[in-house]
Amino acid sequence: MAEAARPLPGDPSSGTAPNASPAPAQGGRPPALPSVHEFGLWSGFEGREELLGRGLVQLLKTVIADAPYQHHLNDAALKAHLNAIQFAKNHGMLPQLVAHDVKTLAPVNRRVGQLVAKTGNPEYGLVGLFERTDCWYQLVLEWRVEPGRRTWRSPFHTVLEMGRRIGQFDLTEQEIHEQWTAPRIQGYAADIGIKVNVSPWHESGWLSCELA
């Protein structure tokens, strides 16, 4: 007998299709058959092909750009942040920009705070600060997750170095960490209702935030 080309979902002898949830066995009965929809294969991008295509084009254009330095996906976002930080610094308004940023994010952070309060689990707060927000994970490309602690490599070094060479910025990564990143994280955490310690600047650029 010829083997089935693709394992059937719910067939214990043939495993489960990669994108279908395994149908649970109930009281020793054979697992339920998949719905017609579950029986198909789906990328998750059906109906959003153009959006996916546009994202891919942007990604490929950015990663292929290696002059005068290898561009990363965060290039434009880094420059937008640096532009604003440098402007605020030049006008003696960096603490006000940080306060404005924290206030802008307060509606979202307070919502995360409700989840922390409801569950009693401050780890939700760290997830809200780091893994869940694209403003973090699209900006910071090197990072690690451990319970109660997040570690990352400051993302500004290459763009800052290139920009400094042509006089665009006089900021340093340490200055950004101490006057922008750390107070923002502390402000966000306060709105979430968790206490965190942000590491001081380290020459390696590797920094951390942990639940206090």
């Binding site: 546009r54 994202g55 292929i64 750009a65 030049n90 308004m93 404005h100 802008t104 694209d134 994970y137």
Partner: protein, 211 residues
């Protein structure tokens, strides 16, 4: 097996194996010729970078929390944050001047290239096709020659964020008080005159080289 089949077996057909078109910047000589026979993606040696970027892209597009996030979401928000801050403090004009000055080292270099080649369209390539700061923001950017068109990238995020009181800006306000003066300022640095379309309700923006 007849006689004809036997002859065919003895003399196999030689397939066409044409070289690929040479890639710009490819090495000359033997190495370049060999490379023309390779099928290259252009990302050789950058697999980790590509994989990491793909992972971020899939995360971004899989995020429906509150609203469907597009790839430019963090960049749009970074700009909105700064524009709203400048507006609140009455320093939007200074912020735009700061931005134009920050971009001057690059735009002045482009001006030199334009003067050397006499090709003013290079200004359009520099502003729209070459810089991630534009094409990462305006995901619908298209056009060629002297005209580029894109859809306002701020309206979608603004609509969502205004609901929770994060911004009071409008897409039209951003177009008129930030996008237009920045683009015309960049054009002036490059020694060209640009005309940006007035705000249209469907968000379509056009920028044209007019000299």
């Amino acid at each position: 097996m007849n006689a004809q089949t036997a002859t065919n077996a003895a003399k196999p057909v030689v397939a066409e194996v044409p070289p690929h078109a040479p890639k710009p910047g490819a090495p000359a000589g033997t190495a370049g010729m060999l490379n023309q026979y390779k099928t290259l993606s252009g990302f050789e040696g950058r697999e980790a970078e590509l994989g990491l970027s793909m992972s971020i892209l899939l995360k971004m597009l899989g995020n429906h929390a509150g609203y469907a996030h597009e790839m430019n979401d963090p960049l749009v928000k970074a700009h909105l944050l700064a524009i709203q801050f400048a507006k609140n403090n009455g320093t939007l004009a200074q912020y735009i001047a700061h931005d134009i000055k920050t971009m001057e080292p690059i735009n002045l270099r482009m001006k030199q290239i334009i003067e050397k080649t006499g090709m003013k369209e290079i200004a359009m390539v520099a502003l729209f096709d070459r810089t991630a700061c534009h094409y990462a923001l305006a995901l619908t950017s298209n056009g060629d020659g002297r005209v580029r068109t894109w859809k306002d990238p701020f309206g979608w995020v603004l609509t969502q964020c205004r609901k929770i009181g994060q911004f009071d800006l409008t897409a039209q306000e951003i177009h008129e008080t930030w996008t237009i003066p920045r683009l015309t300022g960049y054009g002036a640095s490059m020694g060209v005159t640009l005309k940006v379309s007035p705000w249209q309700e469907d968000g379509t923006i056009t920028c044209e080289l007019v000299d």
